[in-house]
Symmetry: D2
Subunit: 335 residues, 4 copies
């Protein structure tokens, strides 16, 4: 951390700042510049809180130099983390696809979709039993019944199940049925939930918060990893911006940026970002071309009648084409 | 809701869209325009999900007309909701001030600050016992011990206590000690927590999510109210934007906008938005001038040694001046 | 346009609103809903200004239904516009690549780079002679001398030249040397410059403003087209968001969205969005996969010594690989 | 500037980076930290371009320490700049108000409004003769005729005139009629226009760009000041965010932030940010409470028939009350 002093700050104030830093147990090293003095903070384990020093007399700015995450960082562990689920591996350069409906609606629905996405080449099946909805009056999911339907689909197709957990209360239940547990965008900084996920032996898909910086996202992963669970798959799903032509703005630049900073695999969910089918397909191709470690895509056998997010769900036959082209693109960039 | 068809859509496709709408139980009324046909959706109770119709053949756009919230809306209840806590009333045109440190650190600290903010005219005392922190390595609060310290401060000063609850697990505990329960920005769409708050008999301060629209925020309040708790105080605390000169961007325009849409009181927290003392003070004055139903401000007896957010905490003597000027400004705008 | 009245608005106020609308020359048609009355505005040529009606008594909201652009819209012209420059065609399903340095620095530099990008398969050569720079103390470009160097590179390689024009004063000069004139992100709403470009017989690359909605961008194109120049190539180059891991956030969803709304070709500039080479390459592949009508990429023979934006420029040999993979990806999605 | 090297970078790469920095004429000073080496860049005059070093081998990040602006900075000139126009002074702690219609529509209109705002206490009169409009089909202003009308209003009321200039072509003309020349939000980085304004002897109101950081805004002012014109009034008018309840988000935190960084006066335009009257009034009070150096407010004698932005214009009698309360608030905060 670099504490930048105002131009012409007196020796006395600089000393006072040095003392304040050292009182907190750090080493302070003043660095005279052309114009002003900065004070480097050394020997800090983990992150230092900028707020501690920002209000000191004569301090103009406090600039973090070291990143606050540790366990999730590539500096801590150089090689990619590989996460194996069923036939799929996330993080080893392959491109596994997770597909399925937004919400579990009935046993027939999930069986029908699971079979068709398996035939098209998907490696995992997704479906929501507990649905976080902006409105208390919207369909909230089938709950436990939905999990039972998903388990049946796994039994019939062999595809591992990905489903969302919304709270600590239902974690045991979801964990019992799911092969991979998903933490949604609105819960990315639900620290109690992250801690609970850290104690699970299920891999976790951690969706990016709607306005989370890469650093905040990695810190959320750090909460999970710090509790012992190292199987975390990051999932970009669009961020909130001023843009109105799509539901959220898919930030594909975060994929190479995350790979540089962290050893964790990162996949992309183009469905929720786009909100409409016409955008989901090209964004899925873009995700494959980008070098993501997989994608998660919504597919519905009857989007017109879907209980949630029908407009963004692909038809099963569209999904077949999308799979073929994504795989062909992936083969090119892996050459 | 208005379903806008593409220019030159065939009669057949329009009929199909009308049928799709009516199959979901709504009334569809086609409205021929100069250029294109739109279809109005009538007799919908509560909100209609745009996603249901966005993917239909020939549909160009789906435009919500009615707002999705009901209980919290001013159309549902015209008069302001008044929420009485101790000597303070939120929503009746007065300007109660909540003050205290970011985090509870010790019994002496909270007693000292509570006395000084009471003398300066604050009506409620705030302090965090459970702290949501971006980093798992940052100070996480004293937990139950912190609540006990707060209760002692109430005993000595008579000021009601405001403190944050982070999860359903600790809700009973926090509720037992707190006079007002706060739900933080990262939990604004933690729907399980909102539901639990809806069953509490404590008033709830609901902070705005870091990138929540006014509509999403009111929908979060709707979750609480739908469970039976009508005592909700909205709290603007800054939103995430591209701006870098302050921690978040305080969106003061949301105060008149929320008052127009909802009968709930709305207060402002300038401390977390600004992140630095130099900005907190002018933003506190601005909040008073704007007609907010109160403010929440961080005050610390020794900001240099604070365990969190020292840079944004006012010194007790600064707070005295701020109180005087805020009250004088409030008197002018209430004339 | 739909003028939504408040719930329970009196007949009288509705009549007054209808009159106010008709006084401005439009047809007003009241549409009674379940809850409230809305008034449709018909027979408007071009866009109607929402601000005219938003302040009327009893009006809750004004919702635009028709888009304000006309000449650039796909409803106006169904088929893609094809823009031919040298050997390249933008908009016909091919994938022409524009490459070159950020700034023209010397005759040798542009000759060397032009030759290498031509060999790698680029169809147009780019280079800045007039540089818009945030700081008045940064290198501002070589001006006319730079144009002369570019012309020489065209002479030697046969590649048409793309270069930026910053103001009306220098338009004649730039037009004389350039085959395609570029309008930069900061000038997207410099209406005087747009009008001048509309009178040019050169194709125009219109970069998206840093925080422009798709609608504002298309309206900027409408300014150009309204003056007579129909050869406009849209160029996405990243928008401003809260994100800090890349210079701007490349909004790839705008490509399918723009193609749906407009007949104009749209290309992507991954270099300026990313700001660092490590991100430029994957984003270039993503742009090819997405179905963009081309890309514009910065290449420099000696990025370490570049006078501007060295960190985002590809090395010539990197560019060779990027070209091969982009072309292979393009072939897949065009199947 | 601080060049942060990756953890464990070899001595050799560090030396190479030091050499690359010194080849550009700077002094490089390596600073060993606990975890990694950083290299300080000293003796740089003005700003250093981060892009020069970001792509070097082994470089993890480049962090600016010194701000790139010079002439506009408070470090360069400690005392506030005072700008006198007619009876008003901007920057001396007073609170001058600029008022008038969005657009000049007729001689009667401007005379009527000018008289009423003068009576209410406004010190300058504003009105647009050249209007930057998103749509080429919207009313573009009366041009020179509008300037003549404004001059007549000055003659009759004695109020100095503020009006916008959109391009270099019309600068001479506008300068001839206006007492203060305004540069609009869309032209904040129209560098040719800024340079021309720098050669004018008129004070300039420089509106903040719709997504400009404080630093970019001050750099735009630096362009003007570097050409010799030191009379620059900054004007905050709202920035673009995800928010939808107001047209733009008024960023009041920029007022104290700008005052800390720069000696220039800063005023607030609540009208364009809000877009609706109900928000303009409270935001005007907030601006007065915040310590801004003035405000600019739209007032119209007949908002229902206004040719642009009627919904945000105050009625003359509303403006009287607003003036009284703003002045009373200003008196309190100046105590």
């Amino acid at each position: 951390m670099l504490v930048v002093m105002e131009k012409g700050t007196s020796e006395e104030k600089i000393k006072a700042a040095v003392n304040a830093i050292e009182r907190r147990g750090y080493t302070a090293r003043p660095i005279p510049g052309g114009d002003r003095v900065s004070i480097g903070i050394l020997h800090n384990k983990g992150s230092v809180d900028a707020a501690h020093f920002l209000g000191l007399d004569g301090v103009k700015e406090v600039i973090p130099v070291t990143k606050p995450y540790k366990l999730v960082s590539r500096e801590f562990k150089q090689e990619n983390t590989h996460i194996k689920v069923g036939d799929a591996v996330f993080g080893n350069g392959s491109f596994p696809v997770i597909a399925g409906p937004c919400a579990v609606e009935s046993q027939n629905q999930v069986l029908s979709i699971a079979k068709s996405v398996k035939d098209a080449g998907a490696k995992l099946f997704r479906g929501g039993a507990f649905k976080p909805r902006t409105s208390p009056y919207s369909f909230q999911g089938l709950g436990k019944q939905g999990l039972v339907f998903l388990a049946k689909a796994r039994e019939e197709t062999g595809l591992p199940i990905v489903t969302e957990v919304m709270d600590v209360e239902n974690f045991n239940l979801v964990e019992e049925y799911a092969d991979v547990v998903q933490i949604g965008t609105r819960n990315m900084q639900n620290f109690s939930l992250l801690r609970r996920a850290g104690k699970s032996d299920r891999p976790v898909i951690l969706k990016r918060g709607m306005s989370a910086t890469l650093q905040e996202w990695l810190m959320a992963a750090e909460y999970i990893m710090e509790e012992g669970n190292t199987n975390i798959i990051l999932c970009e799903r669009g961020v909130r911006t001023f843009v109105r032509h799509s539901r959220n703005t898919l930030d594909l630049s975060v994929v190479p940026a995350a790979k540089k900073e962290s050893h964790l695999p990162i996949i992309v969910d183009p469905s929720h970002a786009a909100g409409v089918r016409d955008q989901v397909i090209p964004l899925a191709y873009a995700s494959a071309a980008l070098g993501a470690d997989g994608v998660m895509i919504e597919v519905h056998n009857n989007p017109e009648e879907a209980m949630s997010d029908g407009a963004q769900s692909l038809y099963p036959d569209q999904f077949v084409t999308v799979m073929e082209k994504m795989n062909a693109i992936h083969a090119i960039i892996k050459k």
